[in-house]
Symmetry: C2
Subunit: 400 residues, 2 copies
């Protein structure tokens, strides 16, 4: 029997009417002979509300307790959806993350999935047609509840699809993947198909429809991933293996990342211990460093790197701590830059993309300060004020 994983985010299940409509849709699919695993997030603003309660209680909540609290949101959604399904005659079973066998490792609030046991599902499908699983959560080796961090429910869905060797459909409040953000460039095209690696580059470069980790997981297990609007007839985007996509373009998309923060550190000596201490702290604090450039000369060392602006509190703490041991350390945080990126797996085979982009930006009078390339992308750090104009220039230059 065909099995699929479907995932519905918080805004898709924000009230009981929406949940009921989803239940009816699931019933139709069951009646067409499918077995469904349905991953849901907490209803609407539930998680935000819980976080607000916590903020009023303590400035530094214990992370284990915070994870325990937050997981109740999804636990409620799975209960409700499964009750409704049973009420309309569908055999459904609700499961928390740990009941679905999702074992995690790492930090309580940013855990990674270590293991899923597919037998759990085969057994549950013996008496059920729909298994409703709480997204975003798992259980660690200490038998403590954990959450998967940002975009965690997508990761849950993809991991379950991998364990069951099924496609994964992610339903959200956008129509699919666009060549660039339609809020930035109104004529942006919706892509009907995109490769894993292009999608990963887009996500990593700030086109945040899907978190990189879930696409990466889909890629690793070769799980076809669909992204589309909940209960909509508009066809969304399939994300799949490169080899299954016939026509390749040099550039598939343009991403603009406005959520970056630029950190510059100066120290009068070239001190490897300082750098080791810095990167150890960054790793322990799970702060992801993006572009890095370092200058070492007679004036000492100067290091620049970019991070997500959501890591602001973390990075401040790290830099303050380092300043205690390294009194001469000077640092600066700046959020007046953005990063614009061109993505396309065709770049591998077609030359001249970098220079064409370079010329476009120069002609448009848009200065850039740092540039990095990967096999299928090129990124430029530019002034925040030039962001939207740069998207338009490059979109047109490459006829996306």
């Amino acid at each position: 029997m065909k099995r699929s994983v479907l995932k519905f985010g918080g805004s898709s299940v924000s009230d009981f009417t929406k949940i009921k409509n989803i239940a009816e849709m699931l019933k139709d699919r069951i009646e067409n002979g499918e077995q469904l695993i349905v991953v849901v997030s907490a209803m609407g603003k539930t998680t935000d509300q819980l976080m607000e309660n916590v903020a009023a209680l303590t400035a530094e909540p214990k992370q284990q307790e915070l994870a325990l609290l937050l997981t109740t949101g999804e636990q409620q959604t799975v209960s409700y959806l499964s009750m409704i399904l049973n009420d309309i005659g569908v055999n459904a079973k609700a499961m928390t993350g740990y009941q679905a066998g999702i074992k995690t490792v790492g930090h309580h609030l940013k855990s990674r999935i270590a293991e899923i046991n597919p037998e759990t599902f085969d057994k549950a499908f013996e008496t059920n047609d729909v298994l409703v699983v709480a997204g975003f959560q798992g259980i660690n080796e200490e038998f403590e509840l954990t959450t998967l961090g940002r975009g965690g429910s997508d990761t849950t869905a993809v991991a379950l699809a991998a364990a069951n060797q099924t496609p994964c459909e992610i339903y959200t409040d956008v129509d699919g993947v666009y060549a660039t953000d339609p809020r930035v460039y109104k004529d942006a095209k919706r892509l009907s198909i995109v490769s894993y690696e292009e999608m990963m580059e887009m996500s990593a470069l700030g086109a945040g429809v899907l978190e990189t980790r879930s696409v990466e997981l889909a890629n690793n297990y070769n799980i076809p991933l669909y992204l589309g609007r909940t209960l909509s007839n508009v066809k969304g985007t399939w994300i799949m293996s490169q080899t299954e996509i016939l026509e390749k373009k040099a550039v598939t998309g343009v991403a603009l990342d406005t959520h970056m923060m630029h950190v510059t550190i100066s120290y009068p000596l070239s001190d490897n211990q300082l750098l080791t201490a810095l990167f150890t702290e960054l790793e322990e604090g799970q702060v992801n460093v993006d572009m890095i450039s370092q200058i070492v000369n007679l004036d000492g060392l100067q290091l620049s790197f970019s991070i997500k602006d959501t890591d602001l509190t973390q990075i401040k703490g790290i830099l303050e701590k380092l300043s205690e041991s390294y009194k001469a350390l000077d640092y600066n945080l700046n959020d007046e830059y953005v990063k614009i990126s061109l993505i396309g797996s065709g770049m591998r085979d077609m030359s001249g993309v970098a220079s064409k982009a370079f010329i476009s930006l120069i002609n448009a009078g848009i200065p850039f300060y740092q540039t990095t390339t990967s096999e299928i992308s090129i990124s430029y750090v530019i002034d925040a004020k030039n962001g939207e104009r740069a998207v338009e220039e490059l979109y047109q230059a490459f006829d996306i």
Copy 2:
């Protein structure tokens, strides 16, 4: 190190200010050298609110899903209380029922505790001074979440006390155990000490400060049980072994049970199959039958029994089902009776209690329809309208 179990009900943790005050009290006790296991219920009306949501979704929620939903209430309270404790410098750890190792058997919403592993606690106390455990819940052999039914959090607390061999303090919104309900008889005395068996009789007979099952559990494991008002200086009631109570009175308390329902069944034949079918259904539906009387004569059989009025829906379903197989079955449900009971472990040694009570009721012109006795109690079924007056008469007759 001295270890205690404390339990706070829903009204004691209905807002964050109350939870913070409880946290401060727990901190004081920790600083006096105790290790505490704290069992909490869902905050205030949380459970009612969840039930309301469900009622709007489906008339017959799947019980497994309902249990899964309801357990989120306590999971939230333990998270909040533990966060606050950590915030004020107390090493605390929050645990759901299954994390505390509470394994259950039976019906999802009326489960019984099968097993608790005390090692869980020894290990958690190595790094914590307070363990905050979600009341009312556990996990069954199918790895499904369950709730313990009415008064479930009290049962959790006593079971944890039994597993840890510690006393159990139950904090609520009453000052302790009274000789009779102070709302019915305003001069009712508060008891400073009462035996397990008297307390069980009182609970079973409708003086509902504590559910019978939790007192029974305390009795089985000889766990001293305290009942008092949350954060109050008023001394509550200790419930303990009979042998530790020196002065015994013939009658310790009067209980009035207004939540009873009288069921009468008539059938033209004396049919054992019918009775077997009835009692099997009652057992499967977990409907507890209290007083039973049966008349078999040439007109067939007539059976009367009383049950709790909360089992109304259940009993209706059972009787309707039976009527399908036994067309001549006639039944009647009546809630115009109440049960008044005298309780006292001194009854064993002192005679004349029944006749003295009998005379008091006769003199007061209060007719009674059915009477039952146990070793330490006597109960009379009387008209509901005479309930309060009967309490007053008996209270005074026995100089309680």
